[in-house]
Symmetry: C3
Subunit: 269 residues, 3 copies
């Protein structure tokens, strides 16, 4: 029987509350809608907890964090925890500034995360490995770090599913491990593919019981969307690739994931 | 003779001051430009009133409201009222949180609106009907509410034109009534069609004397844009549909509205 | 030998720190990536200086300024100045409100800019000429002002390269002068072409030593992108034109600039 990770999203239409950066927020909302979820963005402290409590998942993304929204993220995450609503963290640029590092530390103390997703630099920073985050893209210098080790450390330390996206994506909950080889390098030439994926993970985790398996499906779907978009836009450029990714997400279902998903499950040695 | 609602927008290029959410603000600006208006977004309390006073219309959208911008919305709306500049309210998510409800109540006390546009859940909430806003989309549970009754109640209570968009759109100023059947269900799969429409209404109302008739034309143009976009993007997906809607708005004029607009005027029984 | 202004951007991948408006921020990020740069947006006072200090260029855009971000812009600009990192100013809507005028005055006192880019109304205002900024678009009434005179005045007064974009673009550092005739009028029908250009200028200036020459290449590349996009989208509308501009930027290199750039260098009489 085919898995139904995406079908559950489209049937249950999980409301996903995102406190996310203003650079890619429109893409996050459209990616969430495309995969079958329903986005709501509400970042004022006066309603962040209320909205979180009525949602199926909460996504916290620190891409353009500021003091006002850090407090709202904390309130939303804690309200979600109280009702066992899964919370996803996207620690954009963790390691790049003291403000980001302190915000991440504060969120990790106050909130229990179901999933933490980032690039190798960001997850290396969270794992306590030496990292050299430069801006919001993964640093080449960090490629010496082992993604499986970094993800496993974060998964164990914070009791969550950890996902690192890169050439090969790694997802682990500390016990189970998956490597996903979908995606194309050209995705790095548009902003927001990471943020969109974190939103999509919110939808998959909000609609499915198993955060690890839901996260694997979400990661594969985003990689596949990049592949389809690159093929369909045929070299027109990065603007079309951007739109093509949303197009593909709106058409990708479980059958496509089963056929074209390049997921390999492994066990820790 | 063909109506000239859109021609007036393109000839007069109304400056439309929008204090709107950061999720769809780019689409609102591009939709406004596409239909012939000129957008300006200025949300600091230090200039909100100044900018409103030099505009042809003001659009207040509470999609990602926060305490800072609520004060700016109030200042902009009051400054516009003083110079008889029409003000449009988009009460995104009204009914979904105490903060939104209080903000809407405060704006409705302080500002006289020319047009209030929302989905059935939002307008039901404003009409004092039972509503169950879930996030920012209309709740299925509210479909029991009668759109004409809800819109008429809001129009009479607040002395404005009220518009509810849904499968059939309803526009009324309490005396006149129009139903519009343009649009496609797929528009619900992208974020921002409601916000864009509120911006476009600002342009039409800013360039034309009759707010009710201008609003009807604006609502029909957005529905028609969805129809054209769906036909032209041919199932490519929701990313292309999104871009196609802006494309269509930039090409829709009064002739297309006269030929393809599905507007039915009715009288209250 | 062909100039290598764009090649330097693609080889050096300059990190460009943008504190910019939330209307067009996604386009700015994608335009920066398309031309070969790497964007980071960080506007909290707690990290603005830190991020600026690790960047290759800083872009300050006051399109949706507010009191919180004005302070961050100042801190980022001053931190960049200390390390001789070039800073670009986009004085969106200067002349349109007291808040904008005061913010611009404050930034011009505190920060030394490598490049100031705006439309004729904005640069006229900075040059102390009579201007009548209406919203964020150049006012027709200001077309009486001479662009060369306005740009030269700003270049001399603030010791920078000044660029005015319009039908004919003018770039000068007070000593050298270039006029660029790329671009299409249709670019005025989408929001953000000016903001994108300011971001792209940041990338070119961050990757090249000569701010004047880098700025000329950046201005020509944006005009050329508009030409390609208009030709390639073939009248589909302004949504496609918008995406087409990003597409073109991602494909334009020095060879295209050399062949199709309409740059004319002049000397002051």
């Amino acid at each position: 029987m085919t898995d139904r990770w995406n079908a559950h999203v489209r049937e249950r239409v999980p409301l996903v509350h995102c406190i996310t950066n203003y650079v890619t927020v429109n893409d996050v909302a459209n990616a969430l809608l495309a995969c079958g979820g329903s986005p709501i963005m509400a970042d004022d402290i006066g309603e962040a907890a209320d909205i979180a409590a009525m949602s199926s998942a909460v996504v916290l993304n620190i891409g353009t964090l500021n003091r006002r929204t850090i407090a709202s993220m904390k309130a939303a995450g804690m309200a979600a925890n109280q009702k066992d609503i899964p919370v996803v963290l996207d620690p954009v640029g963790a390691g790049a500034s003291a403000l980001r590092n302190e915000a991440v530390a504060e969120l990790l103390c106050a909130v229990r995360f179901a999933v933490i997703r980032g690039n190798l630099s960001e997850i290396s920073y969270l794992a306590g490995l030496s990292s050299s985050t430069r801006g919001v893209d993964s640093s080449a210098a960090d490629s010496k770090n082992d993604a499986v080790y970094a993800a496993r450390t974060v998964a164990e330390r914070f009791g969550c599913t950890a996902a690192i996206t890169g050439k090969v994506d790694v997802v682990t909950d500390g016990r189970r491990l998956a490597k996903i080889e979908n995606g194309v390098a050209e995705m790095g030439r548009i902003t927001g593919t990471g943020c969109m994926l974190s939103g999509v993970i919110g939808a998959y985790v909000g609609a499915n019981g198993d955060a690890f398996m839901a996260c694997v499906a979400a990661v594969a779907s985003m990689g596949l969307a990049g592949e389809w978009a690159l093929a369909e836009t045929n070299g027109r450029g990065t603007g079309s690739l951007h739109i093509g990714i949303i197009d593909a997400l709106s058409r990708i279902g479980d059958a496509a994931l089963a056929e074209q998903g390049k997921v390999r499950y492994e066990t820790f040695g």
